[in-house]
């Protein structure tokens, strides 16, 4: 009984905060409302006896959403929503994408093969997951490591400015067309303008991408 009330309440909270993500002007609020939505889903998972998944969802999303706030505030004009604005763009595409993904998830929900009895207390998802990772899914697990390494190196290479060889701009001159021609220094101003332009584009179109 309590479990039923709680699960409906959490489902409602999750939906409400997910809806508020798109109705707020502030990037910070949008990200943390999304976190609230995830937390409600995590609590639902705990109620479904998937304790580990529920808690780990919250554990990860807390860090992830904070990083998202940091990046959204860096990228977006008016990050706190001091001037009113709308977080929703490209309505038709968004509606279509929403319907398709809802239909997909609903299909899984309706057609999926779910057990009709609650899991026994002694079955823990954590150890089941552990055996899976070290057994059949070992390759997936290890390739995740390599993928993460590639991600890290890519992220650092793209974002780090002052590298171990000094400023990232030094030595980044475009190769000269003729071998004799002396390369002109890399026009730093172009980079600035390009960056600014890209940031601007992002501000105009990026809201839904960021919030999702």
């Amino acid at each position: 009984m309590i479990t039923d009330v709680l699960s409906w309440g959490l489902a409602a909270l999750s939906l409400w905060s997910a809806w508020r993500v798109f109705r707020t002007d502030s990037m910070m609020r949008a990200a943390y409302l999304l976190l609230a939505s995830f937390a409600a889903v995590g609590a639902l998972l705990v109620l479904l006896s998937a304790e580990f998944l529920g808690l780990v969802l919250v554990l990860m999303m807390a860090g992830e959403m904070t990083i998202m706030v940091v990046f959204m505030v860096m990228f977006m004009m008016n990050p706190a929503g001091l001037n009113p604005m709308t977080m929703v763009h490209q309505h038709r595409a968004a509606v279509a994408a929403g319907i398709v993904s809802f239909a997909g998830l609903a299909l899984v929900g309706v057609a999926g093969d779910f057990p009709d009895r609650p899991a026994a207390d002694e079955v823990t998802t954590t150890s089941a997951l552990g055996f899976e990772l070290l057994g059949d899914s070992m390759l997936i697990f290890q390739s995740a490591g390599v993928t993460l390494l590639a991600t890290m190196i890519g992220a650092v290479a793209l974002t780090s400015r002052g590298g171990r060889f000094g400023d990232a701009h030094a030595g980044s001159d475009a190769p000269a067309l003729a071998p004799e021609a002396t390369a002109s220094p890399a026009p730093a101003t172009d980079a600035v303008e390009e960056g600014a332009h890209a940031a601007h584009e992002h501000d105009r179109h990026g809201a839904e991408g960021e919030a999702g």
Binding site: M74, M77, N78, L82, N83, P84, M85, R161, H169, A188, A191, V192, G195, A196, A199, D203
Partner: protein, 442 residues
Amino acid sequence: MGLNSLRIRLAGAAPAPVFVVCGLGGRERVVDLYAEPGLQVYSTPRHAGVLLVVGRLTRGLVAPALQAHDQMASPRLVVRWTAADGDDPGDHGDVFPNAVVAHGSAAEVAAAVAAAHRELLAGDRPPSAALLADIEPAPWQGVGPYGTGGTGMTGGVPFGRPMAARAADRDDLELDQLKLRLGPLLPSLPSGLVLDVALQGDVVQSAAVGDNPYRLYAGDPVPAAPAPGLFERACHQPVRIAELERARARHHLRWAAGLARLVGLEALGVRLTTLSARLAASEESAQAERLLTRIGRSRWVAGTFAGGDLDDAGLAGLGPVARAAGSEEDARTHDPAYRALGFEPVLGEGGDTPGRVRQRLAEAVQALRLATAAGDATTTVSGVVEGPRGRLGRGAPPPSAALVDLVAGVVEGLEWGDAVAAIASLDLDVEEAARHPQMAMP
């Protein structure tokens, strides 16, 4: 009722939460306040309930002091600590009409503050009402689709202020730049220092020192000149070396106390301040020497401070700051009395913030040793004296005037915490800088 009166009794026994406004001639007295057990000096008025105005308010301090007063949470109270003989009239005393006036030593003032604060909590004393007009900064709602006074995402003055403007930064990005006027009441800066900074993130992109709030304008009441200190007197008359060096050590100890507070070691600051008052006793002097040596040697100096490089050039006459950067200049080397004591200047701890910190700690230790060794020897008068901040005498501008000019250059490109520490390592006295002949009376 019982519960509430118990709460008031308990609250009355707590140290009075104080925010300090350092007025003209208040600097030394403020340092003593931090060591008073009956007071808790906070670095933001939001935590405080008592605005303690030390010394005379000047024209440049009135607006900031009023602002800080209104920023305190209610119930609040103003106490003015005037000099023992009463400050001159007409010194903006009417700014806080309901202020409690206290004078005497720091302990006496602390007792007066605590008593007034207890009365305030018990309801026997009316709380100080807001002094600034209660007008929203920009109630205007004009242009723009949402009536925020502008168009677009970043235009206008939403809720009374514009949004930060974009500016290019070192990383070739264009992000918002916060232009701030910090001080003169920011406790992490030397009292009175006004710093106009442009911050991107937590890094100082550019900085400039603003108007000196201690500067006097035509028509301002001129305060009586402060009694010349020991170092000023030593320019014209021989003084005992032991006394002079103890004064130097005392100065550096009190500077170290401020630095300790800045890095979160409030209790150590109290210890250093207490020791600084008792250097005449050999036991306390030895204790101070041990403490300073230990702090200077510890690896924490390198972990807590970084950056703030100054090269040797342009530091002439700036004492420890110059010597840390490698200059060998020290007026004491020309004094036969010092030479007889085997005096050699402490040299070259490094031209950056940790170097200056170590330099000053080492010089304080050296001063304490000289004071012990000097016996009854006196200085030789040459018109020039090596003060704790640099060379004094012969009509030279006070060292702080030159130190203030170093601030902007030294903080650029530093993270805010490093910038604050770099400024503290310069040990500048903004009031002394205002006494520069070119600054006074424009």
